[in-house]
């Protein structure tokens, strides 16, 4: 049985390789360096590796679009866009972690390398041209996160979050895999292009490698639909779509704050990248089926996220529900399934990354060793105790609520414009009304900061220059994107025509 190895174009996965190598390097260096000499050098190595990764992605930006590794990996601007986003996010998270590592006695070598490995998984998801690659990416993303979630050994919640995440994640993986199996069983391929071709769409990814199916979608639509439904479950879990979102609040609350920020932003973005790839490349013919289903899920997600968030007292939990709601918004753009929708997803992931990272940076800044100050009441009077922190938090909250002139507004604007263009007017209306509800709890943070006197005295937060830098960068980004969205839009516009 001759088995021909496909041509391996290592260049196509250069960013992934770079980041994986960086992670490994961090681990190795960590082995050979003295403990307790500070972990600054590891951060520097990580950031340097990220810089290299970013450079490689930029080089690939102008490379020809192609499918590499026998169609497993797609090299296109869409992938590079996400690569850059992930690199940016993880860089900010590295900055944000400086305080946390110290405060919680993290083991920096493992921390950084796991973070970087996780990013490698995300990159593979965004570049996936095959359901197998989607699966592998998810797992590579998740397993380091399971570990990192339990990293706060001092807090009992951390390990609880970890086990919950792991069990539910593995459970969801089961669904995802079964979904892949059923799709494979119907179309005889896991390659997105081949699936599309079998289902009757011409795809640039489809090659002569695609097998002629023995069973077609025409004869077995039920199996295909079941497979697709299970894919929705598996991917929806990662993206925290209701009703597969249940892990989110618990895990976000339990995980170290910097990691929560990372998860809420990066793994969500990766999940949506994969969702876009899978549904837009493989199942465009079934858009009537999954479109409506995703629309319903989007509505449920927005309602669940926003209404439950109304009752939260813990800022991390509040942001967790908020992130669920935001997943709902992004899903609206996916449902729109048009070019503007893709643009909106890309823009929104960037905007959301900025504002959420910023918000979490403030959360970190407010805590001290042994005193996390995570309750909303701890924000009372912050605007006067710490005017700069208060102002930044206000910007992030307004952006999350979608008030102009912030990135969050522009992002929502594109999402719902896309929905309107796709004649999903009702969805747009529901989404916007949901964001009105959301304004309530975001504003709650704001009014606590400015309109309520603190119940007790708070010690001045520790100086954390790197975290402050991260927050400042995020705020600047939120405003720049809100007022001059043109630059990012151009880049996003260049990235929306993915190979498929």
């Amino acid at each position: 049985m001759p088995f021909e190895l496909p041509e391996l174009n290592w260049w196509a996965i250069a960013p992934v390789l770079a980041i994986t190598l960086t992670g490994s390097l961090v681990m190795v260096v960590d082995l050979f360096t003295q403990r307790r000499r500070g972990q600054g050098h590891l951060a520097v190595i990580s950031l340097a590796g990220l810089a290299v990764t970013a450079a490689l992605s930029l080089l690939l930006w102008n490379a020809d679009e192609e499918a590499a590794f026998g169609g497993m990996i797609i090299v296109d601007r869409f992938a590079q866009f996400f690569n850059l986003l992930f690199v940016f996010v993880v860089a900010v998270v590295v900055l944000m972690s400086q305080e946390q590592l110290d405060r919680e006695d993290f083991h920096p070598g493992e921390y950084y390398s796991l973070l970087l490995f996780s990013v490698a998984g995300m990159m593979l998801m965004a570049a996936a041209g095959d359901l197998i690659m989607v699966f592998l990416g998810i797992e590579l993303l998740s397993i380091p996160l399971y570990i990192l979630t339990g990293f706060s050994r001092r807090r009992i919640e951390s390990e609880e979050a970890s086990i919950k995440y792991l069990l539910l994640g593995a459970f969801a993986t089961g669904f995802l895999l079964y979904g892949i199996a059923l799709v494979y069983g119907t179309t005889a391929s896991t390659n997105l292009g081949c699936v599309a071709q079998t289902l009757g769409t011409r795809s640039a990814l489809a090659t002569d490698l695609c097998a002629v199916p023995a069973l077609t979608a025409v004869t077995l639509p039920a199996m295909l639909l079941t497979g697709m439904g299970l894919l929705i479950v598996g991917l929806g879990f990662k993206a925290a779509l209701a009703p597969f979102h249940m892990w989110t609040p618990d895990v976000y609350e339990g995980a170290p704050t910097s990691l929560t920020a990372f998860m809420s932003v990066a793994s969500k973005a990766a999940a949506f990248a994969a969702i876009l790839r899978v549904f837009l490349i493989a199942f465009p013919t079934l858009v009537a089926d999954w479109g409506f289903m995703l629309a319903i899920i989007a509505v449920i997600t927005m309602v669940v996220g926003n209404t439950v968030a109304l009752l939260q007292q813990n800022i991390k939990r509040l942001l967790a529900y908020s992130s669920i709601a935001h997943a709902g918004y992004i899903l609206v753009a996916v449902v729109a399934a048009n070019e503007l929708g893709l643009l909106a997803v890309l823009f929104y992931t960037v905007a959301y990354a900025l504002m959420n990272l910023g918000a979490f940076a403030i959360v970190i800044l407010l805590g001290r060793r042994g005193e996390e100050n995570l309750l909303l009441g701890d924000y009372a009077g912050l605007g006067y105790r710490q005017p700069v922190l208060g102002a930044l938090m206000t910007i992030f909250m307004l952006s999350l609520a979608g008030i102009p002139p912030t990135a969050g507004f522009v992002g929502k604007f594109y999402i719902f414009t896309a929905a309107v263009q796709a004649d999903q007017v009702l969805l747009a209306v529901i989404g916007l009304l949901a964001s009105v509800i959301s304004a309530y709890y975001y504003l709650r943070v704001v009014y606590l900061m400015y309109m309520v006197e603190p119940a007790r005295a708070y010690a001045a937060p520790a100086r954390a220059p790197w975290v402050s830098l991260a927050a400042g960068l995020a705020a600047a980004g939120v405003l720049v994107l809100g007022i001059f969205p043109s630059q990012i839009l151009e880049i996003a516009q260049a990235s929306v025509r993915f190979l498929g």
């Binding site: 086990i163 919950k164 069990l167 539910l168 459970f171 969801a172 669904f175 039920a222 639909l225 079941t226 439904g229 299970l230 929705i232 479950v233 929806g236 879990f237 209701a242 009703p243 597969f244 249940m246 892990w247 609040p249 618990d250 089926d289 289903m293 319903i296 309602v303 669940v304 926003n306 209404t307 439950v308 968030a309 109304l310 009752l311 509800i437 309530y440």
Partner: protein, 707 residues
């Protein structure tokens, strides 16, 4: 030059407003009075110039486009600020400035000790300005400005002593009741605009505009009901402003204001605005004869109704107030009979003698240290010679003593009504009512005069109170209780006089107690009285009917003068005038009626046989109804004010509970949803897994059962 007429008082008002407090009192008063005097002089000159020319065409002065936009041919002109002088407004402007000036003069004495002296003259000058705008305006809307502004001034002046709740209430009541009337005016304006497309009274040949409303409105209005609607709506406005049934209720309360205000605004000028307006637009009324019948009926009804209340009031100013309402009714009767000139004539003479009576009453009140209750007066003739003599002149004028001004004007009204009655029997009924009212008027005025000036001074001696006062507390506890109850609502009943007394005391507080001896008022007040007395006597001579002097024709000089403005086009001209003998008979009838009234009053209050107390006891029920003013205030309270308040309270609760409740309900719903969904987030991993599984099944089931 005409613009100076309103401008001078306005200027005076502004000066008083900004500098009044810094100027010496005498100077401030002089400036204010001087402004009105100036206006009078200018008006006189203007009128003389106008009379010298062709009086058939009104003189118009266009000041500036007021509510307008655009330029040239594209201009949309809703209304301009413009003045108009014709015989009708000539009479009005002279009365307003003339009587106004006298009252200003009087006020300088009367208000001399009031701390708010400058404020008073600010308001008074502002009133003069507003009234002049009202009578001089050359279009409906500008007239409406004056119309409303006089209402404002009335409000301000009634509530001049605003720290008294009754004064504040009375001011508000006056304004609000007037607004009800203004509603009619306003809607009439809307109809006029949609019908005619302009608010101008008359086209001005000097300016190329389209025709005015009153230049033969029949050319535009083909539909009689439209004319009727406009006429009646305008009349609603007139009813409010001129205190006719059913909107007269504010005027008696308006006596809470300082007495000169009562004289100027609530007797001589402002309240006659309704008469002026109806006369002004009489061409519209003539298009709808039914409207004239309404006007006449309301007028006659008001005349007798108010007179009946006046019969038993004990507050000197209130008697005069009801008398004013009654006299205004006469004027409307005249208008309704188509005798517009007669109405205006009576307006003028009434302005003289009623202003005189009020000012005289003010002088009495002043002399008695703010005593207004007739029951505590008496025998004032000798201490207050000038006041009393002038007052007597006013009395004779109002009861229609032959030769006095009121005689001629009232007689003309009666004659014209009778004339109309020969064609339309309804007017005969009205004539009868009017004739009866003559007797009643004579009675209550004589009663007032006898109680105040004759007999002996009763002062604070409660024991000598006239019977009718005793009747209430001693024999009619129920009525007394009712009266007290109304009093507590700051509503006007008999007891309000005590408040008024307190008020005027405040006004005079500065010059201390006068003691119990009445003293004559200062000369500056007496001058005004004397001049007005002369006018009350001779003011009617311009209107001596031809038959009395044996001249030919049917029109008195006054009527002839006014003819270009108010000559009836229709009904009134159609029929022949009465025979001279008939005229004499009619005149005699009214004189006889007046004589009867005087005689009864003399019997009761001079001779004391029968005693007023017995009289009141014998006719107890009618007496109580009259004393409580037919319970109209109470009726309005029960029918309008209370249900209105209840409705408002209901709506306020509705707003909070239902409308706002719905809004908060949405918020609660969101929260409730959140709470319900939150309960699913139990913390148990297996529960989460179940949810996921349910979600997965739901997706599949949806597709499976989609059909």
């Amino acid at each position: 030059m005409l613009w100076l007429v309103p401008a001078l008082p306005l200027l005076g008002s502004v000066v008083s407003l900004f500098f009044g407090r810094r100027l010496p009192k005498a100077l401030a008063g002089t400036i204010a009075s001087g402004a009105v005097l100036g206006a009078f002089v200018v008006a006189l000159l203007a009128v003389l110039e106008f009379v010298a020319g062709d009086t058939t065409h009104p003189f118009q002065q266009h000041l500036f486009p007021w509510i307008a936009w655009g330029e040239g041919r594209a201009q949309v002109l809703v209304a301009e600020a413009g003045l108009l002088l014709d015989p009708l407004s000539s009479v009005m402007v002279l009365v307003v400035t003339g009587v106004g000036f006298l009252i200003h003069l009087y006020s300088m004495g009367y208000m001399a000790h009031d701390p708010s002296y400058p404020r008073f003259f600010t308001y008074l000058n502002l009133f003069a300005f507003s009234m002049l705008v009202l009578v001089l305006a050359n279009n409906f809307l500008f007239m409406f400005v004056g119309w409303e502004l006089v209402g404002l001034c009335s409000y301000l002046l009634i509530g001049f002593w605003f720290t008294r709740p009754s004064a504040a209430s009375a001011g508000k009541k006056a304004f609000v009741v007037n607004r009800v009337g203004d509603w009619g005016f306003l809607v009439a304006l809307l109809l006029i605009w949609t019908t005619f497309g302009t608010f101008q009274f008359f086209a001005d040949p000097a300016v190329a505009t389209t025709g005015g409303v009153l230049d033969d409105p029949g050319r535009v209005i083909r539909d009689g009901s439209l004319a009727l609607a406009i006429a009646l709506l305008l009349f609603v406005g007139a009813v409010g402003k001129s205190a006719q049934v059913p909107l007269y209720v504010w005027l008696p309360d308006a006596m809470e204001g300082p007495t000169p205000v009562s004289a100027l605004i609530h007797a001589a000028t402002m309240v006659t605005a309704g008469i002026y307006m109806v006369a002004r637009v009489h061409t519209l009324y003539e298009l709808a004869p039914a409207s004239l019948a309404v006007v006449a009926t309301i007028g006659a009804l008001t005349a007798i109704f108010a007179a009946s209340i006046g019969l038993v009031q004990t507050d000197i100013k209130r008697v005069l107030a009801y008398s004013t309402v009654s006299q205004l009714g006469y004027m409307f009767l005249a208008l309704g009979a188509g005798a517009f000139a007669a109405g205006i004539f009576h307006l003028m003479t009434h302005a003289f003698f009623k202003a005189l009576l009020f000012l005289g009453a003010g002088s009495v009140i002043h002399a008695l240290s703010d005593e207004q209750d007739l029951r505590r007066m008496g025998g004032l003739f000798s201490p207050l010679k000038v006041t009393a003599l002038t007052f007597l002149a006013g009395w004779l004028a109002i009861i229609g003593f032959p030769g006095f001004s009121g005689f001629f004007s009232k007689d003309l009204i009666l004659a014209k009504t009778l004339e109309r009655g020969l064609e339309d029997p309804w007017y005969l009924v009205l004539y009868a009512v009017a004739l009866l009212t003559v007797a009643m008027t004579a009675f209550y005025m004589s009663r007032l005069v006898f109680l105040a000036f004759f007999g002996r001074h009763r002062g604070a001696d409660e024991g000598l109170m006239p019977a009718e006062a005793r009747a209430v507390p001693e024999h009619e506890p129920a009525a007394a209780a009712g009266a007290v109850a109304t009093h507590q609502r700051a509503s006007p009943v008999v007891h309000a006089s005590h408040n008024s007394r307190a008020a005027d005391r405040e006004a005079h507080g500065a010059h201390g107690a006068h003691g119990s001896t009445p003293h004559e008022s200062p000369w500056i007040m007496l001058i005004a009285l004397i001049v007005l007395a002369l006018l009350s006597i001779g003011g009617g001579w311009v209107g001596i009917p031809p038959f009395m002097v044996g001249a030919a024709g049917h029109e008195s000089p006054f009527e002839a003068f006014l003819a270009p403005s108010v000559a009836a086009h229709g009904a009134a001209e159609a029929h022949g005038a009465l025979e001279a003998t008939m005229e004499w008979v009619a005149t005699g009838a009214s004189v006889v009626m007046a004589g009867i009234g005087v005689a009864i009053a003399a019997a009761l209050y001079l001779a004391g046989t029968p005693s007023p107390a017995d009289f009141a006891r014998r006719f107890r029920q009618p007496y109580l109804w009259l004393l409580n003013k037919w319970y109209v205030d109470e009726l309005y309270q029960a029918l309008i004010a209370h249900p209105g308040a209840r409705l408002a309270a209901f709506l306020a609760a509705f707003d909070l509970g239902v409308v706002d409740g719905a809004v908060n309900g949405i918020a609660r719903l969101s929260r409730g949803t959140g709470a319900a969904l939150r309960s699913v987030q139990s913390g148990y991993v297996r529960g989460y897994a179940v949810t996921m599984l349910i979600g997965a099944f739901a997706i599949l089931a949806f597709w499976a059962f989609r059909g």
